[in-house]
């Protein structure tokens, strides 16, 4: 049982919204679509839901071709970023609506709605109308509708994006549990790398209308296949720079150089782009962080347990350092930062990962 996309494309007029995409999405874990706004996550979900026509390709559910099947007959659920409920119905009727449409017996509907309402703590609110509830409750109502339906595929299109911070964390922790053991293919679109990591499962990185990399989330985080993948899957943004490799040394600008080891040392001499995550650039020389960089601190952010600093390196693009604990920076001061050379990704001129 799986949802399979084969060479799917979508175009509106002359613009290609989804470039040829093939994916096999399986039940049992979250399938996260991770990409920036406008990268095609929602477009792809709408294709899978049958809400938008495809230009070419086919979609298969459990080996059955559902390309030409109406949305209504696909047996799917969809939760939007905005809290979409039927405004004139009570919460109970909202959760029950797909079951009623399917012609289920009233007693069974009662049971399913109550079960879903219990899971999402909506029991006391079953007689309210959506506009009488908070945003978090409204979104839980939408989720309850998806759960009660017990459909084959559940599409969650940035369901937490419009919730406030606390609620988002709470609901995000619940989500994997909500759908585990239900046998549905769960597709979750988000623009936040952190969410993808917390939800686990598999991640498809989306960039400019196509999937750049697909695999187990942790693996993709560790092994980005190209520059875009490394950039999408990093928050704060990943640090990049041009280096020249000669022999076993990497030369970054005129001032920074270090000895290469491992795969990177075996690369052909020439120019490469390196990318290094902010938490591998620290304000103190510890563990592996040995390569000294100098920069003028531009912006600093404290998030309680972490300190980040954006620093300007003159002729190079500015970088970000992310360290745990509270580190006192002064904006405008020159500060030393230390990079872990073994944590660098190397990319060739075409963006593909080489080491």
């Amino acid at each position: 049982m799986a949802l399979e996309l084969r060479n799917v494309t979508k175009r509106v007029g002359a613009i290609q919204h989804i470039k040829e995409t093939s994916l096999i999405l399986e039940p049992g874990h979250f399938n996260v679509l991770l990409g920036a706004t406008g990268s095609g996550k929602t477009s792809l979900i709408k294709l899978m839901a049958g809400l938008d026509p495809m230009a070419s390709g086919s979609i298969h559910m459990d080996g059955q071709d559902i390309t030409r099947l109406n949305t209504q007959k696909r047996n799917i659920s969809l939760v939007h970023q905005f809290f979409v409920n039927y405004p004139h119905m009570t919460v109970f009727d909202n959760i029950a609506s797909p079951l009623k449409v399917a012609g289920m017996a009233a007693s069974e509907i009662q049971g399913r709605v109550e079960e879903a309402a219990d899971i999402l703590q909506l029991r006391p609110m079953l007689n309210r109308r959506p506009h009488e509830m908070s945003g978090g409750q409204q979104q839980r109502c939408a989720l309850a509708r998806a759960i009660a339906k017990e459909s084959k595929a559940v599409f969650l299109d940035e369901p937490l994006a419009n919730l406030d911070y606390k609620l988002r964390e709470e609901l995000r922790d619940q989500l994997p549990e909500l759908f585990s053991g239900r046998g549905a293919v769960v597709v979750y679109a988000t623009s936040e790398p952190e969410e993808a990591l917390l939800l686990g499962g598999k991640t498809a990185l989306m960039n400019d209308g196509h999937v750049t990399q697909f695999g187990p989330t942790a693996e993709i985080y560790r092994d980005p296949a190209n520059v875009q993948a490394a950039q999408v899957f990093s928050d704060p943004p990943i640090n990049t720079a041009l280096i020249v490799k000669k022999g076993t040394t990497a030369q970054m600008g005129v001032d920074v150089a270090w000895d290469l080891s491992g795969d990177a040392a075996n690369l052909q001499d020439g120019e490469y782009t390196i990318a290094v995550r902010p938490h591998h650039v620290l304000p103190v020389a510890t563990h592996g962080c040995t390569v000294r960089l100098q920069g003028r601190v531009q912006v600093t952010e404290l998030s309680g347990s972490e300190s980040s600093a954006h620093f300007d390196q003159g002729h190079r693009s500015s970088w970000v350092s992310l360290s745990s604990g509270v580190h006192p920076y002064e904006v405008g001061e020159m500060h030393d930062f230390y990079m872990d050379p073994t944590a660098c990704y190397f990319f060739a001129a075409d963006g593909s990962r080489v080491a």
Binding site: Q72, S77, L78, H80, V84, P98, R145
Partner: protein, 265 residues
């Protein structure tokens, strides 16, 4: 009393004055009305109302008016709902122009259409029927309803449609059981305006009817010319004409405020 309370009170008094005058006249005899100025009816009489409720040529005027107004309102809303949905949800060639063109129908005076309608309806034997007036009024009411409903529909996110399809609703079922209830305020406002326009419109209603479907407004004008000045009777008829509008306004008063806020009314 403060100035801010006096001003609205004076304003409302001035607004109500002609209506009071009409109601007061309806309880006077025609002689009293003609004999001079009196603030209250000197000889209070219900004869005017009695005449209206017993004389078929009077009360049939009301029945006729209510009949074609109801038919018109139903047709206008039934046609405008799908049209407004199309304008609100789909992009098609010339959609904006067509939408504007609909509105321009309201810019022409009714007199322009009186002759063609008269000729056409006579030819197809619709003349002097409820349907004739109801259809003629559609010319103005459908564009207005489409305009109002489109505004309300624009406030419903397209995601609601998508959610319903995903939940298994067919389009007709979604439209009837989810979409229309979601914009019921808009339907109420549109129906109200159809009702009011059709109720007060005189020229087309008079031109397209003779006896069988003669509206109350036409009856009133004829009485004024033929049997001298029966002012008391006319005032009573006028008072009764206001009542249906007042009742409808009472039911849609909250919705209309919403419509005004959206700039579509």
């Amino acid at each position: 009393m403060k100035k801010r309370t006096i001003v609205p009170i004076v304003y409302i008094l001035f607004l109500m004055l002609p209506i009071y005058w009409l109601v007061a006249m309806s309880f006077k005899t025609t002689n009293e009305i003609l004999s001079g100025f009196s603030l209250f009816p000197q000889t209070f009489t219900l004869d005017n109302y009695k005449t209206i409720f017993t004389d078929p040529s009077w009360y049939w005027g009301y029945i006729n008016s209510i009949a074609y107004v109801s038919i018109n309102t139903v047709i206008s809303i039934a046609v405008a709902l799908p049209a407004a949905y199309a304008f609100s949800r789909y992009r098609f060639l010339g959609d904006k122009q067509l939408f504007f063109w609909l509105l321009t129908n309201r810019m022409a005076p009714a007199a322009v259409f009186a002759l063609p309608f008269f000729q056409l309806y006579s030819a197809v034997e619709l003349f002097d029927t409820y349907l004739a007036v109801a259809l003629a009024h559609c010319l103005f009411n459908i564009p207005l309803s489409v305009w109002i409903l489109e505004g309300f529909m624009g406030g419903i996110p397209k995601e609601l449609d998508e959610t319903a399809y995903v939940d298994g609703y067919s389009f007709p079922r979604f439209f009837a059981t989810i979409f229309i209830p979601s914009i019921k305020a808009g339907v109420g406002v549109a129906a109200f305006f159809c009702f009011m326009f059709s109720w007060v419109e005189l020229l087309l209603a008079k031109t397209l009817t003779a006896v069988a479907a003669k509206p109350i407004a036409a009856t009133m004008t004829k009485t004024a010319s033929s049997a001298g000045y029966e002012l008391g009777l006319l005032a009573a008829a006028g008072t009764l004409t206001i009542i249906p509008g007042a009742i409808v306004i009472y039911f849609v008063r909250n919705y209309i405020a919403k419509g005004f806020a959206m700039g579509r009314v």
